[in-house]
């Protein structure tokens, strides 16, 4: 007999080895998330998927599902905290949606829509970050990086290349690439690599794809991130 836990009072089945997030996605329950992609090993850094389990906050993407767990997710308090985290992600980087090719297909933007973000609330940090256009096919714009490490994981675990990594500490954290010059063009990244397709924001973009789909006809112009991700789409 399969085991069950409850999320917001609803009984959800799960199998041993699944996380709360796995169980939720399988049962069509949406818990907002950015650094999680079911194809990769859970990471637990963005903290958007935080839920309350028996009174304690835990990241649902990394917390193993346990029989009888009482999980609260879609609550006013948690959604308010998720909104604050999303605002933090916006102000620590330079996210200028109107000029970003990813606008409309961007998960950060879509989560902000979903959580009803109307302003950044905090003061923008306006950090100085480097743009790297050295690669023939891929543009790396660090202004939009949210340190989810999906590209790091994809390159390491799927492509077997270790093209990406994080360096620095705290707010000085930077996405680095595997070349002595520090340039993406000097790495062995290929346009067909999984790592080029997993960025939830516009930090990694395919070149020469500008506005092939017009604004207004993009994914999140018509669907919520909830519907898209429950539909199994994370890229």
């Amino acid at each position: 007999m399969s085991k069950t836990l409850t999320i917001d009072g609803r009984s959800i089945p799960f199998k041993d080895g699944q996380t709360i997030m796995d169980a939720a996605l399988a049962a069509d329950v949406y818990i907002p998330h950015l650094c999680h992609n079911p194809e990769f090993k859970p990471h637990g850094s963005c903290k958007l998927c935080t839920v309350k389990v028996n009174g304690r906050n835990v990241a649902s993407c990394t917390m193993p599902a346990v029989e009888g767990q009482q999980v609260l997710s879609d609550t006013l308090e948690l959604n308010d905290e998720r909104l604050s985290l999303t605002q933090m992600l916006f102000v620590e980087g330079n996210h200028i949606c109107p000029s970003c090719e990813k606008s409309g297909n961007c998960q950060l933007q879509a989560v902000a829509y979903y959580l009803g973000m109307m302003s950044p609330n905090y003061n923008h940090f306006y950090p100085q970050r480097e743009v790297d256009a050295s690669h023939p096919d891929i543009l790396l714009d660090r202004n939009r990086c949210i340190y989810c490490e999906l590209c790091v994981r994809a390159s390491r675990d799927v492509d077997g290349k270790h093209v990406f990594g994080l360096s620095g500490r705290g707010i000085e954290t930077t996405l680095i690439v595997n070349s002595a010059s520090g340039l993406l063009g000097d790495t062995n990244l290929a346009a067909t690599d999984k790592a080029t397709r997993v960025c939830p924001t516009g930090a990694l973009l395919k070149k020469r794809q500008g506005f092939t789909v017009p604004i207004g006809q993009r994914i999140f112009d018509h669907h919520t991130i909830k519907d898209v991700q429950l539909g199994g789409e994370h890229e």
Partner: protein
């Protein structure tokens, strides 16, 4: 920035790489040595180290970028880092730093034009009882004053190697002011191990259980439980069991001597004068859980203790207290290796410490699984504070009941406190748990005490109204820091110092801590600059809630404590600094013109708003 001519790298690198072998867990140790030799980690060295250890270049660069004492840009041949704890500031550190900067013609945070010297701040170096303190190329300088800085400036100008500087500059006193059962008696090497072997592992664990010893790092988890979980853990790797219940050799004992909590320096004294007691505790712990390998993770700031500690380990090996068949007990093999940190407070968190031991960035792991089942290299690992191991040795010597008779029922035994700040006699004080704050203040000669920061920035600030509270897990738990502030101190500066500390030490892994600690720091600076309003206090409270409830580890969840405590207990220290307005922009229009004024050399009325 123009990089200087690359030194003959392979000449420098070859012996370092040979010394550390080719295991990737040695990465941090290798990088420390390269930093020492080259004053930075050159790009070519990163490639060579990566090739030697068989890890990707990004991994090496990532680790080099994570730790404060490593840098990928050249620092001065003489690198001075001033300890920036609030206690150092109270002793005049800011003025002293500026004084030396002026003397040596260098700007804080910069390298001098000739590459000779660089000067900056660093987090508390654990010398609060003899500050202001600093590190010169990693070696501690204590009791700094203008005379000493004059001498130091002269030594740097004449380019005298640090090894030849007068020893009095580097003197570190123990300052033990009060002893009890832990520090009161000398440790005769081997006593606790003999008792353990006579009693047997199971019985020793029973004594540990009876003692009710709880972790001295502040969290207070029961040590006997941790040890028995580790003993009972079964490690699996790719489907096959590699470690049976209680079996050897795939278990590890780790001593956490990364005491980075500002205001804490008890492990410094323990390791300087009671190292045998700590190693004794680790060894008997190894016998109980069935470990064959131990690590002492020594914070980078305490590298000056390394040689001495290596000497103690050597002596213990020669006495048959480490190595194979310890004290003739067939099959009981255990040895200890020392790993140095490189300036990262987060490595005091046990899973981050393990990552760092493995040569990686010190980022806390996701839990579960916990280190007792999946620790170092994925194997069952006990991580305990240095003081916890020292207590274990005493318990093995004298029994659990003896230990449990001291302190309070929930907090047995004694506690080492590191007392600093506005007191006549700063230093180490050992008390049975249950002692009141007032008693300690009396004993250390506190001068008009007004507030005490218990257990450092991540702990609790108590006001003079609470001085009858007790040091105990059930009242005021502590890792040891006890910083005293007298009446005329501005406690806002204390909170602001701690806000800066957390922002600097956040590892950056999770959103709430990475960004939240920065937001806190910015708001505290805004209030400090005279632009604060009541809204900013509200925002601090909201941030505090998010940090507490959403953070990945204890650093983030305690990072708001200083602000929340100060606002609750001393609201006037904030309110005095606020503007009477409900809203005040964080953006200072006139301040933004400063660059333009500098460029044009103007400071007249029309150059201001």
């Amino acid at each position: 920035m123009q990089q200087p001519e690359s030194p003959d790298l392979s000449r420098i690198l070859t012996p370092i790489l040979a010394r550390h072998g080719s295991d990737s867990t040695q990465l941090l140790q290798v990088l420390r040595d390269v930093q020492d030799a080259c004053h930075y980690i050159p790009a070519d060295a990163i490639d060579q180290i990566a090739a030697h250890l068989g890890v990707p270049r990004v991994t090496v660069e990532g680790v080099a970028g994570f730790y404060s004492f490593l840098s990928t840009q050249p620092v001065g041949q003489y690198r001075l880092l001033f300890s920036d704890n609030i206690t150092d500031q109270m002793l005049g550190k800011d003025e002293l730093l500026q004084y030396l900067c002026n003397k040596l013609w260098v700007e804080q945070g910069r390298v001098s034009e000739d590459g000779l010297v660089s000067m900056d701040n660093t987090s508390c170096t654990g010398m609060c009882d003899q500050g202001p303190a600093a590190l010169i190329n990693g070696w501690p300088l204590t009791n700094l004053d203008h005379n000493r800085l004059d001498l130091i400036a002269e030594l740097i100008r004449s380019q005298k190697p640090v090894a030849e500087w007068p020893p009095m500059l580097f003197e570190v006193a123990d300052n033990i002011r009060r002893t009890d059962t832990l520090l009161g008696e000398p440790c005769v090497p081997g006593t606790a191990i003999k008792q353990t072997l006579a009693r047997g592992a199971r019985e020793t664990l029973a004594e540990m259980d009876k003692s009710n010893l709880r972790g001295r790092g502040g969290a207070g988890f029961k040590t006997a439980s941790k040890w028995s979980f580790c003993h009972a853990a079964i490690a699996e790797e790719e489907g096959s069991v590699i470690c049976d219940i209680g079996g050897r050799p795939e278990r590890f004992i780790v001593c956490n001597a990364d005491e980075g909590e500002p205001g804490t320096f008890k492990d410094r004294v323990l390791l300087n004068s009671y190292a045998d007691l700590v190693f004794e505790g680790m060894t008997l712990g190894a016998h109980v859980v069935g470990a064959s390998k131990g690590f002492l993770y020594l914070r980078g700031e305490y590298r000056y203790l390394l040689k001495k500690l290596e000497g103690v380990l050597k002596r213990r090996r020669e006495a048959g207290l480490l190595g194979n068949d310890i004290l003739g007990h067939a099959g009981f093999s255990f040895d200890i290796e020392i790993h140095l940190g490189a300036g990262a407070y987060i490595c005091g968190e046990e899973s981050a410490l393990i990552e760092s031991l493995e040569g990686k960035q010190g980022r806390p792991r996701n839990r579960p699984p916990f280190p007792v089942t999946h620790g170092y290299k994925g194997r069952p690992t006990v991580v305990d504070n240095a003081e916890t191991f020292a207590c274990s040795a005493r318990i093995a010597e004298k029994g659990g009941a003896w230990f449990a008779a001291m302190g309070t029922p929930q907090s047995t035994g004694t506690k080492l406190l590191s007392v600093s700040g506005d007191v006549a006699r700063p230093g180490i004080y050992e008390y049975p748990f249950g002692v009141t704050v007032r008693q300690i203040l009396d004993d250390c000669g506190a001068e008009e005490p007004f507030a005490v920061q218990i257990s450092g920035p991540s702990g609790t600030m108590v006001s003079w109204k609470e001085f009858d509270r007790k040091i105990a897990f059930e009242d005021l738990p502590t890792a040891g820091a006890f910083m005293v502030f007298k009446r005329k101190r501005d406690l806002f500066l204390t909170a602001r110092n701690f806000a800066h500390f957390f922002a600097h030490e956040s590892c950056g892994f999770c959103t709430p801590c990475r960004v939240g600690t920065q937001l806190q720091k910015k708001i505290m600076d805004k209030i400090y600059g005279g632009h604060g309003t009541i809204c900013d206090m509200e925002e601090l409270k909201r941030l505090g809630h998010i940090l507490k409830s959403m953070s990945h580890c204890g650093l983030g969840s305690s990072a708001a404590n200083p602000m929340l405590d100060a606002m609750e207990k001393f609201p006037d220290v904030f309110e005095r600094k606020l503007k009477a307005l409900a809203f005040e922009p964080a953006f200072d229009l006139d301040g933004a013109l400063e660059t333009a004024r500098k460029i044009t050399g103007r400071d007249d009325e029309w150059a201001h708003l």
